[in-house]
């Protein structure tokens, strides 16, 4: 019994997360369809990372977004807001019925994420390379105030590794031994001007973070079991004073929807009006097949 129970629990945990990840992707497609455009490719690629963060790792109070004991999640990449709104909706922080207002005038869900608009949004991202600097101060500040158990998560993109400020912050975090800080890097290998390797070469990324004094883990960011293991490893080494952790996630733009995975990669992915239904069908078929295979 004692050897079987954890395995079963783990399988149930993964099954539950797979369903949440499916829902998060559906929410993102819904927002994309309302707008007829948007950063759907990025949202689908990062859906597993956001799902594990919000549905498995972060501590928060759905009824009180300002609860002092919460973990902080800082979205640097403002244009990934569509993905974060999907996760916030799945977590119950943003009402599901509000998703259809995404990007509309007077909506609390603007195209680029901003703290003053959206419940649960800690910072205004968008000017890339800011999030990790703010996260360093937040981790320092929480620790200084004795909120030592609270963790700070910063979601950043591989494009933000081009920014010098990201590396200022990486040095600062290690210098101040911010073991309460976890960075998650979405390595989707795509930037505004094309494939990341042709824009500015950032590899070897794992070794760079290690050299900067971080506990660095690299993982397939669309492999839920591997992601969960990576987040668990980061949590196991997280402490008020220690090495900051980074989870480097290789992801696929459009992940979960075959048609979008195979489409020519673009920062701003074009989806025709009649294709949204196909996207949903493909997403559901893939999810059902994986669920069946797991049984």
């Amino acid at each position: 019994m004692t050897t079987v129970a954890p395995t079963t629990a783990h399988a149930e945990r993964l099954e539950r997360l797979a369903e949440h990840a499916y829902n998060v992707r559906m929410h993102a497609l819904q927002m994309g369809e309302v707008q007829g455009q948007g950063y759907v490719g990025q949202a689908l690629g990062a859906a597993d990372m956001l799902t594990v963060a919000y549905m498995d790792q972060l501590r928060y109070d759905v009824a009180d977004e300002h609860w002092e004991g919460r973990d902080r999640f800082l979205l640097s990449t403002g244009h990934y807001a569509i993905g974060l709104y999907a996760a916030l909706a799945e977590a119950g922080i943003v009402p599901l019925e509000e998703l259809e207002t995404y990007g509309s005038d007077d909506s609390r869900l603007p195209m680029s994420g901003m703290a003053s608009y959206t419940p649960g949004m800690e910072i205004s991202g968008g000017s890339l390379g800011h999030g990790l600097t703010v996260a360093v101060g937040m981790a320092l500040g929480l620790r200084h105030r004795g909120l030592a158990e609270q963790r700070v998560f910063n979601f950043l993109s591989d494009g933000e590794l081009d920014e010098g400020s990201t590396w200022e912050a990486a040095m600062g975090a290690a210098h101040h031994r911010l073991g309460n800080l976890t960075a998650m890097v979405d390595m989707n290998a795509l930037q505004a001007d094309g494939p990341a390797q042709g824009v500015l070469r950032t590899e070897p990324v794992l070794e760079k973070w290690q050299a900067f004094g971080w506990h660095a883990i690299r993982v397939d960011g669309n492999d839920l079991p591997a992601l969960v293991d990576a987040f668990d490893e980061a949590r196991s080494v997280a402490q008020p004073e220690g090495k900051p952790q980074v989870i480097i996630c290789d992801t696929k733009v459009g992940s979960g929807v075959t048609m979008l995975e195979e489409r020519e990669k673009a920062h701003f992915m074009r989806i025709e009006e009649h294709e949204w239904a196909i996207c949903r069908e493909q997403l559901t078929a893939r999810y059902e097949a994986a669920k069946e295979a797991a049984r």
Binding site: A115, S116, E122, I123, S124, G126, S127, G129, H130, L132, T133, V134, A135, V136, G137, M138, A139, L140, G141, L142, H144, R145, L147, G164, S165, E168, A169, M171, G172, H175, H176
Partner: protein
């Protein structure tokens, strides 16, 4: 070559004081004021980017070592982290040179601090022409850069009194501030006047029938000195000190300028985008048509050299102010 020529003055080290010889001064008024304010307010923390000693932050660090955070020579991190600390419930004072705050870290101050209206206090050393090191260190356009930033309060103190009294008010005020720091041995001037610093207020330091000076920062000290010298020329000069550049005390300043007196603004800053243009726009908005003579730095990259040489060259010395006023009066 003449053997009797006066030896040329030499550029001072960065930490030189701009006090006149024999002038009353106070040591590191900012550092002492911050250390004192922190005793009353446990939220106050101090950060710097490898310029603690050069922004008087080291005094605070000695008094409150556990509340002092060295961020390294990383100005983007400095202000991003200050924002994060404010988000975590603290009241940061973050110091570097004005050139680095205004030019290098603008985006971080703007979006991470000013947009969410956080109580972060940006402390900039070497404002205007207070170093002879040339354009890399002379923040001659810092106010011009910062004035366009919504939510940011800008303070240009005259002396040690201003700084001592401003620091607790900056800590207590909601939203971000930018303090044009005077550091080291800072002149003490305003104790001889019936004056207290009030955030957002301009104060009439002395009345005068012929000329009215509106000044900020160390130029208020020069304005007061020039007023004394002009009295010997039978010119009666009023001095209005406006240490808060934004929001400007429009009521006081427009009332003082809406008279037949010769109007002069004096600032340790470019004539573009600082006190002169703030005052000019305030007058226009109120429909007051007055000619205003700007005493300030030219719209140019300035020379390196000794501060007394440069202040004389660019018209900020008390003697040059007297010359300017007498020429205007004909």
């Amino acid at each position: 070559m003449s053997t009797t020529a006066a030896p040329k003055l030499k550029t001072s080290a960065m930490i030189a004081s701009f006090a006149d010889p024999g002038q009353k001064t106070a040591p590191a008024p900012f550092g002492h004021a911050l250390a004192k304010a922190a005793e009353q307010d446990e939220r106050i923390v101090g950060l710097t980017a490898d310029l603690g000693k050069y922004t008087d932050m080291h005094i605070f660090a000695q008094a409150h070592p556990d509340r002092y955070f060295q961020m390294g020579m990383s100005e983007q991190l400095l202000f991003g982290a200050a924002a994060g600390m404010a988000e975590a419930g603290l009241t940061p004072f973050a110091s570097t040179y004005s050139v680095f705050a205004a030019r290098r870290a603008y985006d971080f101050i703007c979006l991470d601090i000013a947009e969410p209206n956080l109580n972060v206090n940006v402390v900039g050393g070497l404002p205007g022409l207070t170093t002879g090191y040339g354009p890399s260190h002379q923040a001659t356009e810092d106010m011009a850069i910062f004035r366009g930033m919504p939510n940011l309060t800008i303070v240009d103190p005259c002396d040690s009194i201003d700084i001592e009294q401003a620091v607790p008010q900056l800590a207590a005020s909601e939203g971000p501030t930018y303090l044009r720091l005077l550091r080291g041995k800072v002149p003490t001037v305003l104790d001889e006047y019936d004056y207290t610093f009030e955030l957002g207020k301009a104060k009439v330091l002395r009345g005068g029938a012929d000329v009215v000076f509106v000044s900020s920062g160390l130029m208020t000290m020069r304005a007061l000195q020039a007023a004394e010298l002009l009295a010997a020329h039978k010119v009666d000069v009023a001095v209005v000190h406006a240490p808060t550049i934004k929001p400007l005390d429009v009521d006081t300043i427009v009332a003082e300028l809406d008279t037949p007196r010769l109007a002069v603004t004096l600032e340790n800053h470019s004539v573009v985008g600082g006190l002169f243009e703030s005052v000019a726009s305030a007058l226009v908005r109120r429909g007051v048509s007055r000619r205003v003579v700007p005493v300030g730095l030219p719209d140019a990259f300035l020379d390196a050299g000794a501060l007394p040489t440069l202040h004389d060259r660019y018209g900020l010395s008390k003697e040059k102010i007297v010359e300017t006023v007498l020429a205007e009066l004909g």
